[in-house]
Amino acid sequence: MDFELSEDERALAEGMRRLCAGRFPLDRLRAAEGTRAGLDPAGWAELAEAGVFSLRLPEADGGLGLPTAAAAVVFEELGRALVPGPSLASHLAAGVVDGAAEGKVVVGAVHRSAAGVAPVVVEHLGSLGTLVVVDDDGLSVVDPATVGAEAVERPLDPLTPLWHVAALPAGERVGGPDDAARWRRDSRVLGGALLVGLAAATVDLAVAYAKEREQFGKPIGSFQAVKHLCADMLVRAEVARAAVHAAAVTIDQPDVGDDVRAAAGAGLLAAEAAVANGKACIQVHGGMGFTWEVPAHLYLMRARVLSGALGEADALAEVVATRY
């Protein structure tokens, strides 16, 4: 038993962090704010080249054959860097949708609720080659060109363009209920990893500001009221990270626990951590935190985008409750 990151996992995280810093620096991402620009093909190709989409695909199928734990480490870095685009859906679609693993086809995903009354929005629809529709009965693929949708004027996250979908075609069935369950489980864990990345990034941002911003003649980070906000941010991020990593390892090593319960709990805590930390990060920045200029809001809004895709918090809590 060694629940620390292995050397390989650390190297993977560092490599991904370097890639993100080089290809997706925040000022470059922000230059595209609100322009509804499509995904940068070179950036997507670089993610594909690094194995983001093919990471867990068996080597025999052209993938890297790495475990879910490695994917969790990678997705945490993508979250931390606010890398835009449906990288998670494209990763999950590797082996299901041709071209997803190689990054040739950008795959998005949308969950169809049984009730079907809630408005449906899909991110980056204009850049998608394939849309995967997930429901209780399985997975279907839909040609994005056949989706009746309208681009949203002002998406909550300025780095995640959205389309409002009026009608979702039935599409072609590519997987059954077990595939859908596995998709949901893995998206809770790896979506959780993206959210942990956001939660951790806001700790760094808030702490850096608390060290530098002075009031009453000293850094605001020397005041306990601010210190405790920051400490609680770290606790949320670390607890959620442990949950996400444990869930990932439980998928890889089924004997160590209940993967479905671990995944639901991890998604629940990661979403909460990212949203609560996003808010706290704005709060630590004071008035500046409410300005467009300071990026704190970007993490909070992305947290909302990602947590919506994991499932309702109440539903996740009920999954844990029934399997406890």
């Binding site: 629940f3 005041f223 770290l234 606790v235 444990a246 090593q253």
Partner: protein, 395 residues
Amino acid sequence: MDLRYSESEEAFRAGLRSWLADVLPTLPPKPSHLDWPGRRAYDTAWQRMLFDAGYAGIDWPVEGGGRGASPVEQLIYLEELERAHAPYVGVNFVGLLHAGPTVIVEGTPEQRARFLPPILRGDEVWCQGFSEPGAGSDLASLRTRAVRDGDEYVVTGQKIWTSHAEVADFCELLVRTGPEDSRHRGITWLILPMDRPGIDFRPLRTIAGSTEFGELFLDGVRVPVANRVGDENDGWRVTMTTLSFERGTAFVGEVLQSMELLRGLRALARRTGGWADAQVRRRTGHLGAELDALWALARRNVSQAARTGVPGIGGSVYKLALSELRQRIAELGMDLAGAAGLVWDELPGTDGRGPLGNAEIVSTWVHSFSRTIAAGTSQIQRNIIAERILGLPKG
């Protein structure tokens, strides 16, 4: 990241599990929490059984007389004891988790030979004399004075929150040997024999109505200089050794015990019909997810200790999160208990509800308030996290 145990770790677990299955049914009933001499006899008898079976001082190094188990084996040990409902460390807590480890690291060979074996065998019990009425979270402001007189220190002052003092043989005592304002530079760590003249103990009544701790009054108590651990005025550093042990594996059993408590609450809700309430299920699920996460974090901290040899600062994160979570679990229990939660003693008609009658729910809830205070308040833990992990400036 790997959560599987090795063959030798599994063998250790199997051996411990079978030993526990053999000996636990032979234990006498546990004395009341008001009968401290009875509790001492019970807890030390259990310690002796552990010693005879080779499980005493599982986390102590071999040269200290312990088993020298790896951090992972220590985790397995705590896990198996918790799952088997073995007795808690009880009155042996200070000796095994504070004083012993400190003497191992900082004591002289003579001190190690004299004090360590009786702790391991359950022959001698220790208490802690750190906090004072004026020195709680600000421990370095302590004022209990020790004045050197030949080969003895003469100690005068007052300590508080001293648990099990009436049944203790020794006290790990922090005293002021430097000037009044010397703070952490003028503190010395002494071993106080509790049979010395000039010691008076007055129990304090807790909000649970119990008397598990109290005040220790010291009036000209003579302590041999040979009982000093570490150098004069170096006691703060010696103390930090102790506290880092406390934040290592000390709370590992508690997360498992809390999981069982939550499962008990779920069973209770199912019996009473509360489970039909979506709010109850969601609260249970949320608390369960948090407990799973903290169990993961515990294993992460242990893995860190296994790699570096030292319990990491991550213990503060774990301790803070667990003690706050424990209060919310206890709160759910009180909400489920309804009117039965207004009564300390088990009500008739709740029999057969196993461990989760109203008495346990009430006791768990009331005791949960001590979790965010003892061993460093949640506020102090947040300061530690902010200053030592995040590097924020001291106020």
